[in-house]
Amino acid sequence: MSSTTSTATANRKPERLINLTLALLATRRYLTKAEIFASVAGYEGKPETQERMFERDKDDLRSMGIEIEVGNLDPFFEDEPGYKIPSDSYALKLSDLDSAEIALLSLAAGLWQQSIISDDAQNALRKLKSLGIPADYSAAGALEVKFEQPQEFFDSILSAIEHRKVIVFTYSSSSVKERTVSPYTLTLWNGFWYLIGLDHSSSEIRTFKASRFVGGVKEIGKANSFQIPRDFRLQHSLFRSEAQEKKIARLLIRKGHAHTLRASGQLVGDVGEFDRFEIPFESATTISRQILWHADQVIVEEPAELKAKVLKILGEVVHG
């Protein structure tokens, strides 16, 4: 008996919200509060209680993304507002999707697990499946997409970005330290997740690799405590276009060798058993590893800093 009572209590609010939604969707004219209280099931008690209930319910439905239109029944008497839900704003309008597109959306929505991104995508997918369009996977490709999965603390970061709240987390790089950061964006870059934000101790925009977070993320302070600079995506190195700000390395590459390096640059000369190549690069560390991969088949001519770096690493290996 007691379980029935508790079920009835648990159902009371959702039932009332559903009944209100149905009533406001079905009506063509605006319904006044008096009409709602008299006809919609669930509005009981004193007038003030009903009033409070209705105000909360309206806010709740709006927070679910349901648009409630307020209008006047009689244009000459503005004191009696009425309510309705316009059916064209309530219903999903993406009806011109084809079967191949439903298949793509299903694949996309299945990419992530255990994150608010995945919950939202799954909710969206269910609505799309309710459109009655069958999925056709024949054109969907064979590539299995495996990215690093979002971690549980992503939800906190996403909410902190949305509300512009500062976060604190423990991060392991050259040392394990606590960081205080204004989060700007999460990035899936070449299959790995990063957080980009303003690091408070250095006052610089820094990139943090998600897999190096130790434990979770804590929000501190109030909402709207910072602004995301409009142009930071343009300035941040991860987003800079590939052609920008590249330096040129001049290398001698032994004939018939180092095909991967050759493919990334241009042949500019013939020097006996070597070819001279010019190869654009961004990071000296990355290109020095590519060069050293080929050991004695590649010689660095320029720039001098790159040459020095390669010589230093080789020296370390000899003495390692």
Partner: protein, 311 residues
């Protein structure tokens, strides 16, 4: 976890149009689709059964049939259409589609299809770029992807020109593609290789040319001697600054310890060439703890390379 009344309301509103399109669906399937227990799904369904339009007689209530565990909607009242997508739902779909698109060339038919779909989604909502909290980029793209996917689907072979990084050889081989996947920022193709007579993994960005071939040509492909598959194990100490070496090659590595001085790992490989070439680029950032032979090989190669600069 206690569910809020709003979560249940939202689910109920979405349930009705979903069941309309899937009449006779089992309670178990419905529960799985909405990620709740069957018990919760039954509670939701009986709650919906009590809701309807003012009047609330049998004519105005939502009517559903529930027989032997299978559900159909008889009268949905006004809940015939699914609700519109919320802003966060659209953002999630856009991001997921962006992830799929990020691995494809601009000429790829699927890339074009995904972009078209994103435009349809975007048309339903006004969303400034700065409001999307996630950015997705990938440089692992190959113009050969659609051809390889077709070969996998039709079970046909390809002739490829491949640059092997570990041996620095350009080779032409006939392969039968089996599966293709993205991982660690690269796209890999698993295929039967007729040249080595073994199942091999190829990195797509190292495939220079690819052309479809006939079954007859495949059968004529040469039978070569298989390459030896001895196991090679090395122990390494990695400075914190080179931690990404472990992260990128996690599949090959076993982590032994991780402290302030860095990581100690062991790496297991088919042959040592890849490791030797990788380690040359790290210098003092990665120390070889063993075997001694690997340390000596590294030092020897570094000396030969240094000698080039002496002339």
């Amino acid at each position: 976890m206690v569910e809020t009344a709003l979560t249940r309301t939202a689910r109920a509103l979405d349930l009705v149009p979903f069941v309309i399109e899937h009449p006779g669906i089992s309670v178990e399937d419905l529960a799985r689709e909405f990620s709740v227990s069957s018990k919760q799904m039954l509670a939701d369904l009986s709650m919906i059964f009590m809701c309807g339009l003012p009047g609330y007689s049998t004519l105005e209530l939502i009517d559903l049939s529930y027989e032997d565990g299978y559900v159909s909607i008889i009268d949905p009242q006004v809940l015939t259409k699914p609700r519109s997508l919320s802003k966060s739902e659209i953002v999630s779909l856009m991001l997921s589609l962006e992830s799929l698109a990020s691995l494809r060339d601009a000429q790829d038919p699927l890339f074009i299809a995904i972009r078209g779909l994103q435009q349809k989604l975007q048309a339903t909502i006004a969303l400034p770029l700065t409001e999307i909290p996630v950015v997705i980029r990938s440089e692992a793209r190959s113009s050969h992807l659609p051809m390889i996917e077709n070969a996998i689907k039709s079970g046909s072979g390809l002739r490829i020109t491949y640059i092997s990084a570990s041996s620095d050889q350009k080779s032409e081989r006939v392969i039968l593609p089996e599966s293709i996947f993205s991982e660690n920022g690269f796209i890999y193709l698993r295929a039967w290789c007729y040249l080595t007579q073994s199942s091999r993994t190829f990195r797509l960005d190292r495939i220079r040319q690819a052309t479809p071939i006939s079954i007859g040509e495949m059968q004529k492909s040469e039978v070569a001697t298989p390459i030896s598959q001895d196991n090679f194990v090395a122990r390494l100490h990695i400075n914190k600054s080179a931690r990404h070496f472990f992260e990128q090659n996690a599949a090959l590595c076993t982590l032994e310890s991780d402290d302030d001085s860095g990581l100690t790992i062991s790496v297991q490989l088919r042959d040592s060439e890849w490791l030797i070439r990788s380690l040359l680029g790290y210098g003092a950032q990665i120390q070889v703890l063993g075997p001694q032979e690997l340390r000596e090989t590294l030092a020897r190669r570094a000396l030969t390379a240094l000698a080039l600069y002496k002339n």
